[in-house]
């Protein structure tokens, strides 16, 4: 993976000094909260219900065992012993004190990490395919380009105060695993007929209040020109994106308002002045960055391991895990392993300090010391010898890291929701836990097969509910009760689509029954191996809607706070900071 040189270190060290001084000035009252807010946000620091939340950048999800151990240290030293992996391949800590943040940043800098631009109206952490470099369907390894874009966007002076946040995702495989259609800029690295590398550029995608699928602005930008092309897109957006209404400030609104043809004309008019200028990438720089992403020292191994089959026959749990959480690798004798952060009963995406240390240890022993965080909030060991799978599984199982549910119903993507976030209308995590418990039966889950269930506590869509096969959104509160909208038909990847709301919203305790009814309709209607999303596309929304609303919904027995992470306090509105 990429390693810092003296320049990277210098920039990050100077950042720690700068932000430490900003914190000092905030604590002394020299900076007002209004002035401090954008500064802290550009450093991933949010003021949430219980305290400060720090989001730490994991560039394109790639991370070393040493860095994961640092997370464990931060969790123990400054937080409550755990961290939360996010849908943008980052990690966040929820219970921090402002005065500790400078020390945390210094700790992070010592292992080549930071929290730069993980929030704020700037270019955020670049996300990418979690299987880059090892996927069988990969055309071009995205990691070098993601790193080049990371450096280009870090402290870009012109684009630090954009109208709104700006997210870039990059994919280089046949199947899009980076949700590039749901980003402000989506990049697909491709090869043209001559074998030259370039980028198909999508623009104006995004979720939030106004979900829109990105559209193509250019079908092939040669790699040399990608930084200047992205610069021109941002310059047009920075000047003309709306600033009068934050709900209409994302680039998607500008692209919609101008139309893609006019937007493209403006971008390429600006680009004419930059093209072939000093911002053009050089072969030398690409080769330099590529040198960090060469294959690890793979052994020559047979692709089949008879021991695995024997063990699978002996252990249902292992065979279920092999079926779902172990994926084909392009190197014979190796496999990609997904460690599930979705053990039923746990908070989706959370890992304890102990689990982090175990994962770091497993990475060191079985996967060349590297891990990846996925946008579905799991952790990947990308280079595991097949002959090590049994011992890896046994060790990981002891730490509850082998729930065999990757891509299944209980692999729920969830935002932190109203227990933590001041924006949320409703709780997300307790609902995710309740749903997971209801559908815990693994045979049932395997029967249902591939499905995605996404929960967001509000329309800002941090849980990416629009692109979940089933999407759940917390909507308005009435008398401190939480209400949820349910949509179906969303999906990410090559056939991205936005879910459609099935009808009036439901109470917290009704939602599991709603999911159950949706699944019943699917099971009754599916043809052979058809996935849930395929059935929805074939038969449409109506049969699902009809059945869900046909008879009165039975509610789960209400057990106060059973699933709560933080005890509910309905007398205090969730949206008000409590300190």
């Amino acid at each position: 993976m990429y390693r810092y040189d003296q320049y990277d270190y210098q920039i990050v060290r100077e950042r720690v000094a700068q932000f430490s001084d900003q914190v000092r000035r905030r604590l002394s009252g020299e900076l007002k909260e209004e002035e401090f807010m954008p500064l802290r946000l550009q450093n991933g620091l949010y003021m949430q219900i219980h305290g400060y939340m720090l989001r730490i950048a994991v560039p394109y999800g790639l991370i070393s065992s040493e860095q994961v151990r640092m997370f464990a240290h931060i969790a123990r030293q400054y937080d409550r012993g755990y961290g939360h992996f996010t849908t943008r391949q980052n990690i966040q800590f929820n219970w921090l004190k402002l005065q500790d943040v400078p020390s945390i940043l210094a700790d992070l800098a010592s292992v080549e990490m930071h929290a730069i631009q993980t929030s704020g109206n700037c270019v955020r952490n670049i996300t990418s395919d979690e299987f880059a470099g090892v996927a069988q369907d990969e055309v071009v390894d995205t990691r070098p380009y993601a790193e080049i874009l990371r450096q280009w966007s870090t402290f870009h002076p012109e684009f630090a105060y954009l109208p709104r946040k700006f997210k870039i995702a990059i994919s280089g495989a046949k199947e899009d695993r980076a949700a590039i259609y749901a980003h402000d800029i989506g990049l697909s690295v491709i090869k043209n007929a001559q074998g030259e590398i370039g980028f198909r550029v999508l623009v104006g995608g995004g979720l939030g209040r106004t979900p829109i699928i990105g559209v193509e602005i250019n079908d092939f930008i040669p790699w040399q020109h990608i930084l200047t092309y992205v610069e021109s897109i941002l310059r047009v957006y920075n000047q003309y994106g709306r600033r009068d209404n934050k709900y209409k400030a994302r680039i998607k609104i500008l692209v919609k308002a101008l139309g893609i043809d006019e937007f493209k004309r403006q971008v390429e008019e600006d680009w004419e002045h930059l093209k072939d200028g000093s911002g053009t990438l050089t072969t030398e720089e690409v080769e330099r960055v590529c040198s960090f992403f060469i294959d690890p020292a793979y052994e020559t191994l047979p692709n089949d391991d008879s021991k695995l089959n024997e063990f699978k026959a002996d252990s249902r749990s292992f065979s279920n895990w092999m079926l779902r959480n172990v994926l084909p690798h392009r190197q014979p004798g190796y496999a990609i392993v997904v460690l599930s952060m979705k053990k039923v009963g746990n908070v989706p995406g959370d890992a304890t300090a102990e689990q982090m240390e175990v994962m770091a240890e497993l990475a060191d022993r079985y996967s060349f010391g590297e891990l990846r965080i996925t946008h579905k909030q799991n952790v990947v060991l990308a280079d595991v010898r097949k002959k090590d799978l049994i011992s890896l599984w046994q060790e990981a199982t002891a730490h509850k890291l082998t729930e065999p549910n990757f891509g299944l119903l209980t692999d729920i993507i969830s935002c932190p929701g109203a227990e933590f976030c001041t924006l949320a209308n409703a709780r997300s995590i307790p609902l995710a836990k309740m749903i997971a418990e209801r559908f815990e039966n693994i045979d049932f889950q395997h029967d249902i097969g591939d499905i995605s269930l996404n929960i967001s506590g509000c329309m800002n869509a941090c849980g990416q509910h629009h692109i979940g096969n089933i999407g759940i959104t917390g909507v308005e509160k009435k008398d401190h009760e939480e209400w949820y909208q349910v949509s179906i038909g969303g999906s990410e990847g090559n056939e991205s689509s936005l879910g459609k709301i099935i009808g009036p919203s439901f109470s917290f305790n009704q939602v599991p029954e709603v999911i159950d009814r949706l699944l019943q309709v699917y099971l009754r209607n599916r043809i052979e191996t058809e996935r849930f999303i395929d059935t929805v596309r074939r038969i449409g929304l109506a049969p699902f809607k009809d059945y869900v609303y046909a008879t009165e919904l039975t509610e789960e027995e209400a057990v106060d706070d059973k699933y709560a992470v933080v005890p509910a306090q309905y007398d205090i509105p969730y949206y008000s900071p409590r300190f």
Binding site: Q18, H156, E158, G279, R288
Partner: protein
């Protein structure tokens, strides 16, 4: 009053003319002396203003640098307003004045100009700053030296890091 210019605190006697609600750009009377007029005043009273020996113009954040095309050499100073420090349009205006229009004279940041944005402003071509008057200018100037290195090209540094220095390759190879 004091401003920051070329990384030093200096006395300055330019006066920024901001139009009152009752005033219109065509008819407003421009006092004698070193005045920085709004762009709209320049566009409306161009002929008269051209007779002045020294003139400055300022742009609002929703105005475009391109409106000064062919004119940039007529000003001793061009200022760009930050109505709020979080309004980032003025960074692109500065970039366009320097890069697209080739302006080389004094480029001044005015309005909600605060220490923590000064470094970025300097990078996109501002060389003069009027920090918000309720803040100490001696503190604000520190913002210009937050960083000593950066990755990307901009106006202050025409080459990205990868074209300027020899950077490390993977040392384990």
């Amino acid at each position: 009053m004091k401003i920051i210019k070329n990384k030093a605190i200096v006395e300055d006697n330019w006066i920024i003319l901001r139009l009152g609600e009752q005033q219109s750009p065509e008819s407003v009377l421009i006092p004698d002396g070193k005045i920085i007029v709004p762009l709209q005043v320049w566009l409306q009273q161009r002929e008269a203003l051209l007779k002045r020996s020294e003139l400055g113009v300022w742009l609002a954040s929703d105005e475009r640098a391109e409106l000064l095309k062919d004119d940039v050499d007529k000003f001793s100073v061009i200022a760009v307003d930050f109505p709020k420090f979080s309004d980032g349009r003025s960074y692109s205006i500065a970039h366009n004045l320097r890069v697209r229009l080739g302006y080389t004279g004094e480029l001044r940041a005015i309005g909600d100009v605060l220490r923590d944005q000064l470094f970025y402003m300097q990078r996109v071509g501002f060389d003069a700053f009027e920090p918000r008057p309720d803040r100490k200018i001696e503190d604000a100037i520190k913002g210009l030296s937050d960083f000593s290195e950066f990755y990307q090209k901009s106006v202050d540094q025409k080459l990205p890091l990868f074209r300027r220095v020899q950077r490390s390759r993977n040392l384990s190879l």
